[in-house]
């Protein structure tokens, strides 16, 4: 085992023990581990967003344009639109201009809703209802050979569930 692996593993064990020390009671070691996790997670997510979203989906798309032309002369000028909408989100931090952030927010919510509602209805409501109702045997309810109380019982119960 090289020294780097040894040090990282030792540190990992220390942080794990510090986290579990909360089971005894709150203490500075636990606080250290807690803040470390929150800080590292936030920092990691920012870097991931930057490299996986902003760089490939925005900067690389607009890189052949010129900044003094607002990148409108690039091969993908329409990518400027989501960039502007994204920047407008930050107006929430201004009391005076926070209303502007409603526009990108409205678009975002509208798009998300449009995507989510049909699929959620289909998969969480319709398919579940269909699965419940597919076992209804209508011939059992009406009776294939006339009315029979015993054979109608299960069909009747299914009809109640259906209704």
């Amino acid at each position: 085992m090289d020294i780097q692996t040894f040090l990282w593993m030792t540190f990992g064990i220390f942080v794990t023990m510090a986290t579990f020390s909360f089971l005894y009671k709150d203490n500075p070691f636990y606080k250290f581990a807690e803040h470390l996790v929150v800080g590292v997670s936030a920092g990691y997510f920012v870097i991931i967003l930057w490299h996986n979203t902003l760089v490939p989906n925005l900067f690389q798309k607009l890189q052949d344009g010129d900044w003094y032309m607002f990148w409108l002369n690039s091969s993908n000028p329409w990518y400027v639109i989501p960039a502007i909408l994204g920047v407008l989100m930050w107006t929430r931090f201004s009391k005076k201009y926070s209303w502007i952030s409603r526009w990108p927010m409205a678009l975002y919510i509208g798009l998300s809703t449009g995507i989510a509602i049909p699929l959620e209805m289909s998969n969480r409501v319709n398919k579940q209802l269909y699965a419940m109702m597919s076992s209804i045997d209508w011939s059992n309810f009406f009776g294939s050979e006339g009315f029979d109380l015993l054979s109608t019982t299960s069909g009747f119960a299914q009809l109640i569930v259906f209704v």
Partner: protein, 295 residues
């Protein structure tokens, strides 16, 4: 004058730290004693195993490693068991990791399983020769992208839409196994190993929209929530928690971390049940003695 404390009062007032300590001691002792417990696979795990076992060579399975390190103990054994099973059968695997802290674990699992595949092994009486697992030939690791619902929808159009390059920076078009693989149409099934809401997105935006066979590996506490999808046929099978992973290992004849962990979990559960029983006995006996004292 001090209040008289009887045994039942003591049972009600056991300090939680004694319980934690007792649990740790039991787990450590159980870990050091080698023994096995019988595992009986349930139909929902068998259906996953049977489906994956029936896949011919060179078919493609998408394995979504959608969990963070906090679910590692339960879900990592599933990854090891499922992926080793697929690679032994020479089925190709596309990995994604739509959980923020997942890619590092996924990368580690891929390396570990690749090493394991170098050895000759016999599973269920079938001898598998060791072989080298090659990135781009046997697997493709797409990595992580934020906003999992959009990514799942986007992969239904084209994997290259959100993942022009794989996790290691190689363009997907340069990977031999990705030639002609456009979207879910070229994938035989999706196995989602998840410890959170990403499973909902795979059901609604993945299986519901693109209609591929979906199998789930979930943490123990999540499992009950997804049984309705098994009943409706939206999900082909469910592996629930460490027990689900152990059942898969049992079916694959590849005992690993899950079967090893089951014996510890068994005795940890015994300890918890013991303290629940003690607490309840203490509660009912003190309530009874108070009633009798008051009467």
């Amino acid at each position: 004058m001090s209040e008289k404390v009887n045994i039942f009062d003591r049972m009600m007032r056991i300090d939680r730290r004694w319980i934690f300590l007792f649990l740790i001691v039991v787990c450590v002792i159980t870990y050091t004693i080698p023994f096995t417990i019988p595992i009986y696979p349930v139909p929902e795990v068998k259906s996953i195993y049977n489906f994956l076992d029936s896949l011919p060579e060179d078919d493609i399975v998408l394995v979504a490693i959608d969990y963070d390190p906090n679910n590692l103990a339960e879900l990592h054994p599933m990854t090891y068991a499922v992926v080793e099973h697929l690679w032994r059968k020479k089925v190709k695997v596309i990995f994604t990791s739509l959980s923020q802290n997942g890619p590092g674990m996924a990368d580690q699992a891929i390396r570990d399983i690749s090493d394991s595949l170098k050895l000759d092994r016999t599973y269920n009486g079938v001898e598998f020769k060791g072989r080298e697992i090659v990135n781009g030939v046997d697997y493709c690791f797409l990595g992580y992208k934020p906003y999992y619902a959009l990514i799942i929808l986007g992969m239904g159009q084209d994997f290259r839409l959100h993942f022009p390059n794989d996790y290691y920076g190689t363009p997907l078009d340069d990977l031999p196994m990705m030639q002609g693989v456009i979207n879910y149409d070229q994938v035989d099934c999706v196995v989602d190993l998840s410890g959170g809401n990403i499973t909902d997105a795979w059901i609604s935006y993945g299986q519901g929209r693109f209609n591929f066979p979906l199998m789930l590996g979930l943490t123990g506490v999540m499992t009950a929530q997804y049984y309705p999808f098994l009943g409706s046929g939206q999900v082909k099978g469910i592996m629930g928690g460490l027990l689900g992973a152990a059942q898969y290992e049992e079916l694959a004849d590849n005992p690993g971390r899950a079967k090893d962990g089951m014996r510890i979990q068994l005795f940890a559960h015994y300890v918890i049940i013991l303290f629940i029983v003690l607490g309840n006995i203490g509660f009912f006996m003190t309530t009874r003695s108070k009633k009798e004292g008051g009467a």
